[in-house]
Symmetry: C2
Subunit: 227 residues, 2 copies
Amino acid sequence: VTIESAALRVLPVFAGVDDAVLAEIARLGEMREFAPEAVLLEQGTMADHLHVLLSGQVGLTARSSEGRSTVVEVLRAVDVFFLAAVLTDAPYLMGAIALERSRLLLVPAPALRGLVDDSLPLARAMLAALSRHYRMLARQVADLKLRTSTQRLGCYLLALARELKAPGEFRLPYDKRLLAGRLGMTPENLSRAFAALRDYGVETHGARVVLHDMNALERFALPDAIV
Amino acid sequence: VTIESAALRVLPVFAGVDDAVLAEIARLGEMREFAPEAVLLEQGTMADHLHVLLSGQVGLTARSSEGRSTVVEVLRAVDVFFLAAVLTDAPYLMGAIALERSRLLLVPAPALRGLVDDSLPLARAMLAALSRHYRMLARQVADLKLRTSTQRLGCYLLALARELKAPGEFRLPYDKRLLAGRLGMTPENLSRAFAALRDYGVETHGARVVLHDMNALERFALPDAIV
């Protein structure tokens, strides 16, 4: 399976990149499709491909020396990832799993580095993507250090309601075990946090969430003013 | 006070950047000196300068809506920071304080963006710096999610011993309140963690740390194989 450079041109992550470079990325890249829960790669191996997520949803995972595993970040199409590892020619610090059926374009790392070395528009596009990812992680570190786990869950639900433009009622986009990892808690802690949020109008039925009083939830969870 | 572009040319963060661009950075930049504990800036304001840390040590800080504050990351000279905020023309997600007497070159954000737009070597140098910072944060998120606070302290001491090439005995580079923030715990938790590490041969006298049994500490704290 191949991809046309025209399909890459419309992607915001490649905004401003010239056609010749996109054609080269399309030519070098390999299209892959992954089933839900498929492991894309394990952390610790040398970065061999830039990953362009064309459709679906991927979790970046970390595993401790004693084998515990957690989802560090969730990425939705369209996005690029493993950029820092590819650019610094270093081992992957995180693994990756497909959270739903996902299509990816895998671009060999040495070729990608060569293209970045020659193309200022590509270097700028990669800087923009990496800046965005850096800020996602910076928010997450502050969140982990400054909030209780129940506040973190509250902030997450408020952000999701805003993003889905469904303030009253929505479905969680992935299962509770994954959500617990993303928020830095155990599944048991997540259940307790959902129970504690009932006092602030949060009702859950499986993956369905109803927010009855967003103001009360905001006063408790104290989301950042900077979004 | 001004800086010569020759002084910038020797800095690893500007490796490969042409003299004309460095001369422009030197011309546009403003040299500033900060006393220990001086606040460089508060989070939430629009990013107006790229910060080049020429000497000293700076803490990137986060403050919650209820006023709690913590050190997210510690940077030592020579380094650049607030790159992601400057490149995306966004508000600073973190504040910054001087942890010791520090000299910085402040480069106006619009001018820096203009230079990155025109200079591939500068864009590549900034990509390298941002990749390094992204990986620092990614390690920290995994650390916060996968380890107990006592294990985090153990990993931190092992990394410090390796970095200072002083496996047996060394001094903590900053005070315990800051260290607690960096490791995502309260000062009380940090004291308890130091006490718990006595079982693994960790002795402390104020800022002085002696590691009597690094193997035992490694078996307990389980540092990453990927460094």
